[in-house]
Subunit: 303 residues, 4 copies
Amino acid sequence: MNYTAILQEIYQQISRLPVTGTVAATIPELAKVDPGKFGIHLTTIDGEDYGIGDSEEKFSIQSVSKALTVAMAFASLGERMWERVGVEPSGNPFNSLVQLEYEKGIPRNPFINAGAIVIADMLVSQLKNPKQDFLEFVRTISGSPNINYNSKVAESEKQTGFRNAALANFIKSFGNIENDVEEVLDFYFFQCAIEMTCKELAHSFFFFANEGMTRSGRQILTQSQVKRLNALMQMCGFYDESGEFTYKVGLPGKSGIGGGIAALYPKNFTVTTWSPGLNEKGNSELGMNALELLTTKTGMSIF
Amino acid sequence: MNYTAILQEIYQQISRLPVTGTVAATIPELAKVDPGKFGIHLTTIDGEDYGIGDSEEKFSIQSVSKALTVAMAFASLGERMWERVGVEPSGNPFNSLVQLEYEKGIPRNPFINAGAIVIADMLVSQLKNPKQDFLEFVRTISGSPNINYNSKVAESEKQTGFRNAALANFIKSFGNIENDVEEVLDFYFFQCAIEMTCKELAHSFFFFANEGMTRSGRQILTQSQVKRLNALMQMCGFYDESGEFTYKVGLPGKSGIGGGIAALYPKNFTVTTWSPGLNEKGNSELGMNALELLTTKTGMSIF
Amino acid sequence: MNYTAILQEIYQQISRLPVTGTVAATIPELAKVDPGKFGIHLTTIDGEDYGIGDSEEKFSIQSVSKALTVAMAFASLGERMWERVGVEPSGNPFNSLVQLEYEKGIPRNPFINAGAIVIADMLVSQLKNPKQDFLEFVRTISGSPNINYNSKVAESEKQTGFRNAALANFIKSFGNIENDVEEVLDFYFFQCAIEMTCKELAHSFFFFANEGMTRSGRQILTQSQVKRLNALMQMCGFYDESGEFTYKVGLPGKSGIGGGIAALYPKNFTVTTWSPGLNEKGNSELGMNALELLTTKTGMSIF
Amino acid sequence: MNYTAILQEIYQQISRLPVTGTVAATIPELAKVDPGKFGIHLTTIDGEDYGIGDSEEKFSIQSVSKALTVAMAFASLGERMWERVGVEPSGNPFNSLVQLEYEKGIPRNPFINAGAIVIADMLVSQLKNPKQDFLEFVRTISGSPNINYNSKVAESEKQTGFRNAALANFIKSFGNIENDVEEVLDFYFFQCAIEMTCKELAHSFFFFANEGMTRSGRQILTQSQVKRLNALMQMCGFYDESGEFTYKVGLPGKSGIGGGIAALYPKNFTVTTWSPGLNEKGNSELGMNALELLTTKTGMSIF
């Protein structure tokens, strides 16, 4: 497959599209990002790298980080993780409290905010220095020791994250958060404030495509575990637009309101995009378009 | 009407009933109360007092205080208060977040927790020393200068009030709380932690029955305003059991999870009960029974 | 009280208001009604009649009929009626199916469509000739033997009443309808298609204000039963605007999408209005205004 | 892959499990089925057949038929089909009305009952003789001319299908059903009452695994279209247990309350199971177990 040519075609087609999405306004620090940015990076299972556009510029990965915290928690807790969070799509917006009430504080899945906060709580319980340990984990799987948090973004989110504070307190009221709410939210806001380039993100997700093994040969999860997390990303990775993404793109993936998307074709490649304009469901509009073009052009989808 | 005889009859009938309700368990400090307590007090529009049982023992008025904060806010803000909180029954439990999500942070009415927190926010904005000023207001309308907060109860609630913290943060995320969440909750928990006897509570509610004027002749609200708050209590005073209370008792009133109820027959009397055992809707079981007996025996209901 | 003068004042004030509501569009036959019609009629407990405007013109009473079927069912079934329908406000639109699903086919109250259909089912089980018997009942309580169904309206509703057919089938699926769905709906559509003048409607509701006794001295319900139905109308008579009506008007009442409202002040009067323009909640806009003027001018509300 | 040995292993493991699920009770005719039945059939892309147990016994395919009606509608209507039905998982039980109300009569996806009824309506509009034409379609894709409806089952469902009648009327009230409700339901009940063996069902689903082409070489859908329907099955094929099935099995599939499941591994095989005992979500308990064993033993899942 001539990925260089394909990425170029996609880049040109995307460049011709109007920038219609809106940059995330809920986090003041993120609202400053240039909406015209666009990058795409693809890493094959053989380790070849293909990038175009702003693919080596750092951006805030935000909720894409949820796939990484879930992997870290799954590696240490295994299946008993699912006693505290489900594996079903929510059918509701990413920050909804409604289902949580009907379902007694057990979030539907780890990719909506409620679920990611419960995962954050698990890691806060498990890790000695949660923020530092998670950062080390990300540096290891990506092979990029210079990845870091943007603490201005984390603080910005802390100042305005009332909805997440509501979620965390609500879950705590059902007994499904063990640690102090402030501490859990602090970790959660930092996890979301990690910055990476498209390339670094594609490398970080490599083990999801490579049966659990990173580019440097480290086995993070078993093959069976990775299949399960990929399945979960497929079902729930794009909030209440997961069906649309699966229908059009047909690859497991995870989006973030920083405008990033990471997706993967098991045993073939990982692919990441960055375009800050979001559609009304909170997913990167051009990023989704670009990935639809990719699977249309290559015929490479899991279905 | 021979109220002495009627109250005695009620007292005897209630005494024969088994104590089936459960004392509020969500607030540790309240869980210690003796479930066998029962008091009832009636104050006529002419100022006569009739009490029986534990009617002169202090208890935590909890949500009964919501009627008093609403009155205080209404007196200073008038009708524009309703831009931030509705006047419709919620049809949901007292601490539900579901409706709040669908209705964008505007609570259905001021008697569910969400609404009372918005009212608390209004008072925090309006008053110089919110906690002290509200206490003075309560002392004035009741004529009892020794009424006070139980700060142990307030602190106990603060430690465990995750659901209320969730509500406050959630409302703040919609922009319907002006002040700092902590400050609003601090006021709210103190307001709920006021302690009164049945007698003091009946005196406090006197102005609702007396066209807006307290026992000492102070006009708190206009006649029209008091009618409106009475209407609101009728519709929403007992959470999602308001219909049941209206159906069986037929008087406006407000309950609290401390086991207290204050009700009134406009231009006739106020009546209060205290029995800590709550039914599954969070209302005092024997208190509701006692008031049903009262309107059945006297035929005095507003319908 | 000089009701003649008061009604005239109201009539003039209402006449100056723009006709902003919209005539019910869901039932084709009703959509033809002149939106400019307005009538008001008040009958005192002493039997005096005061009417103005189009108060002696027939209109389709629609959901106002629900108060009459409930009374008829209550008279024969008593309290066990409430095993199949609740007494709580719904907090939802009149034709919502949501609550019905969560609450397993037990409608919240008899004044939303779901509840009225269950009441219709009870009457179909109880009565020999349901449509004829109910018509006789209405003629008796109103004292107007010429009251009748408009079968064109009933048929029109049958052709387009998919939402009601959905409700009836849904309730049947929970086992809370005994008879054939078609038969129950046929009765329900006819009950709604009764036509009356404001005057006839005020006379029909007389027994609600008169401790259960009609103008001709017939005891329909006990005093206690009538109090309970009045309480229920107060809580639930205006769908999810019941709180607003109670807050502003302070009288028990029932509205219909034909633009009619019947309300009452126990032991004092019944009052009816007709104006076909509905607000977005499905209640007559000018009718509600007129009744608010009435209680403001007279100070006569139950609170 | 030695499928003979694998199916035998699975068969033995499943045979040792207790029969805990319950046979569908909502349709009287189905309730008579022997709960001890169990069959499994696998057809490879090369056309090899592997079956074991009761795999050649007829059963009622029920909702498995929804995948076939969707394919037929998609073939003739293409993407504009999605104006009337969505592609998102519902997060709710198969026969829920709640979402339909919030989303104005547009069902979330074509695999919940509401969505399948809309698809049935499309086919009733498109086909000359809907029931006969659909039967011909099924006979063609399966290559089994003796496949037929069980009209006793269809009639049984018609007598008791109040929930489906509620759904259809509800959707009609939003204008999203074009034909007569009775006619649409008649087609829907017949579509569900088709009977097949596991083998016939595996053959019918062959084109989903084979890029749109049936075993006899007929192109039903394009490769891209088939990918999209497979994606949809993955997201929504098991009601509110779709996440669980995807997590554990990792193949697109569709279940029915007759106890059947059809699943497929694109470009590899189709596999069907039949075991009438359903779990509380309405999916075949042992069927799901068997398929989990299959992907665990073979490592053949799409993730």
